[in-house]
Symmetry: C2
Subunit: 467 residues, 2 copies
């Protein structure tokens, strides 16, 4: 973690005057508004911006960027504040652009299965607005995050094994560059070989290369048939082996999620469910009725070979909704295992063949550490989290949690994996980024950052480790 | 098209000495070797490099780049020379790095369904080496291109509708930067949020940002069942409407290819087939036996509703092989329609809802032009080609063909599409790139190029239009 609150200068009065004149009450330097924008879901200390502005349009963002350029004020884009690595912390001060009021769905193209949205649209809002079109947007991180924020962190969730992540689902963007110019990247065509892939350069760039003001994202047809089930296993490795064999066989599962026994306990308490308190897989199958039945049959056989109990089916839509709501609430359910705690959330992702070794090793590390730390994961992608519950006021404990995270990351990297499957780098994983990619690749990233944001105004201090 | 052969300087003797010393007979300035590397499959005039070197390793490439930096010599990576927009033409002179002898498959990871290859491995070679693993590499441009070249142009082919393009299938790369440093991008993990997406930045960059020396690409399980069929239609729009409805219904077809009546004639003559000489779709279905049957049933119903004749099934593997070989040979079959001709190949891609309008308009333009120009396409992606047959010695005719291409591109852009679905920009489509993305986005691309290759040594004159 970088030293927070460095290089902070008071906002120039001329800057305040310019923004007040243009934005009126949409521009605020009040303590309460700043405090609301000074923390995310991570355990890092609050770092308040000096001001917050609520953008309504691309032109608004251009005006903000121009003022910030003139007065050398850092800019931090803000969706709903659900990031997990300190992405939106104003560690160098500056102005936070809140996109929550820039949240219109601009065009639903049902025939081409894509949609044009403003960055403040949240994933649940989008799916609500898609109701009746026969289409849905599959990316579902734990929080009801904004589409802009999800693109910024290259987010995924429980459906990624079948439908991909934000990397695969963002088709194009409108973005404001650090020089105040507006670019349009990508195309509504499903493929293109036209020049450098600026869309993929911006996806995952955490607001450090440009500020996204519109996004075109893919939609997918609602499956004709859906079935969901849970399956309990005698131990976690049997569950993981079921996953590995399912993926290697090419079964097109829509969801295949692991929860360990501790997580099931947390879920049962928090969501009032009565799940069997052992390591468990949550499945969902999408397709035609025949295909769904075929997939379910195949996976049941694999699970059975690995010692799994009988599948427990959630047949009615409302049962499925309850099941997946419980799964999505795991983070908050876990925090309840230790009242007053915050989570230090790990996020490694490894090649599927290494998943059992990685999870078993992680479990041993957790046991040795003495922490309460449930394991939960999007295991079809090779991605899993441990939520290490810490007392946020106890620095020694946080340091121990970070040491445990370090151990987990080192194992994942040694197994050919990544330090973050879906949460991003923020301020929390910069040292790991360097380890994972090496100094030459990080220097290449620095060159790109320097080229596109020479004055380091866009979310400074995020992603790239100090040189 | 840029003025070729500009800024060409003779190679410095010290440079020749350095490379001769290190590479011996693998370095050549002979006319014959240079001539072999001075043209691709486009209609653009030959532009020979000043020398050719056959690389065997990443270290070789580093040594070449260092010598080129010292002596300001341009560098052009070369796979098999099958590019279609002049990508490998040495329009500013310089040295061509031939990767044909750097063609080893380094590691097949069957459990994780990925493979590490050197850039000179061709797609057919890779699939031959995968024989017996139960896996295959699906990307199949018309030529037996190299994996390195396919990554450079973001290639796709007939399977992209189901399996994606190089964009979706390259997991990581080793590449030599213009400063001689070696970077490793990406990860064998199936997803990652770790920093800027250098992999996607390099895929499609046509050798202008770095020189790829190793690639990790995804593999896919060989489907349990495969079936293929052709279906003739009374007119091209009925065929295209069948495609649109199939895609919009979410049927996971593996291949859905359009050939117009003229193309079928060309195929019948060249490949000694007896296909019905009318607009036609070629289908392939992959999956479990039940799923394949279900897909075929659904698509047959859609085709029938659109006036399609009965499906003609290629049931035996050898029949399927013959069918797809005939499809892959369309470019050469088309050239035979006008002996001595070369093709000016268009490559637009539009949102699927606009495909019928785009193809019908294109057909009218061709008729008005008087050119022989078959239409063929990866229509499931919204992508199609016209192969405009020209006399390569007739400049007036080439200009007319380019005017026709221009018309086709303008329509595609107006419909929300791209000027190139899979062939890339090279020297042929730079003006279209600017029109498609606008000057601000092109300037952003220039900034990236300037940052990563400040001396403009890497394939200069490609992709970016003159400033």
């Amino acid at each position: 973690m970088n030293a927070p609150h460095t290089f902070r200068k008071p906002l120039p009065q001329a800057f305040i005057d310019t923004l007040t004149e243009r934005f009126g009450t949409r521009f605020s330097t009040s303590e309460g508004v700043r405090a609301h924008h000074g923390h995310d879901e991570s355990h890092f200390p609050d770092a308040l911006p000096d001001a917050v502005v609520f953008a309504h349009s691309t032109e608004d963002v251009v005006a903000i960027v121009e003022a910030c350029r003139e007065h050398a004020v850092p800019i931090i884009p803000f969706g709903v504040g659900s990031s997990l690595e300190g992405h939106i912390l104003a560690i160098h001060g500056g102005i936070c652009i809140d996109f929550s009021e820039m949240n219109r769905v601009l065009a639903i193209n049902t025939e081409d299965m894509d949609v044009l949205v403003q960055p403040g649209v949240t994933r649940k809002q989008l799916n609500a607005e898609l109701h009746g079109t026969g289409l849905f947007f599959p990316i579902d991180p734990g929080a009801d995050a904004s589409i802009g924020g999800m693109a910024a962190t290259r987010a995924s969730g429980t459906n990624a094994v079948r439908y991909g992540t934000m990397r695969e689902n963002v088709l194009g963007m409108t973005a404001v560059m650090a020089d105040g110019r507006v670019i349009r990247t990508g195309s509504r065509a499903r493929k293109s070989s036209a020049g450098y892939d600026l869309t993929h350069l911006l996806v995952g760039s955490e607001g450090t290369l440009a500020i996204t003001t519109e996004l075109t994202v893919r939609l997918h047809p609602l499956p004709e048939a859906v079935s969901a089930a849970t399956c309990a296993f005698p131990d976690i490795v049997s569950a993981v082996n079921t996953v590995i064999q399912t993926i290697q066989l090419g079964v097109p599962v829509a969801r295949i999620e692991l929860v360990d026994a501790l997580t099931v306990q947390a879920i049962n308490r928090y969501s009032k469910t009565t799940l069997h308190e052992s390591p468990m897989l949550f499945f969902e199958f999408h397709g035609s009725p025949a295909s769904v039945e075929e997939q379910a049959q195949t996976v049941q056989e694999i699970a059975n070979d690995n010692g799994g109990l009988a599948f427990d089916w959630a047949s009615r839509p409302e049962d499925r909704t309850r099941l997946w709501a419980a799964r999505h609430d795991v983070y908050f359910a876990s925090l309840n295992l230790r009242p007053g705690s915050r989570g230090v959330t790990t996020d490694v992702c490894v090649p599927i063949s290494k998943l059992a070794e990685c999870i078993a090793g992680t479990r041993d590390d957790i046991e040795a550490s003495g922490f309460i730390a449930p394991i939960v994961g999007h295991v079809g992608d090779g991605n899993f989290h441990t939520i290490i519950l810490v007392d946020p006021a106890d620095e020694v404990e946080i340091a121990r949690a970070e040491a445990l995270n370090n151990k987990i990351v080192q194992r994942a990297l040694a197994l050919g994996g990544t330090c973050t499957g879906e949460h991003g780098i923020g301020i929390g994983k910069q040292a790991f980024l360097l380890e994972e990619h090496g100094s030459a690749a990080i220097d290449a990233m620095r060159m790109v950052k320097q080229a596109l944001d020479p004055d380091n105004l866009l979310n400074p201090g995020k992603i790239l480790p100090p040189a």
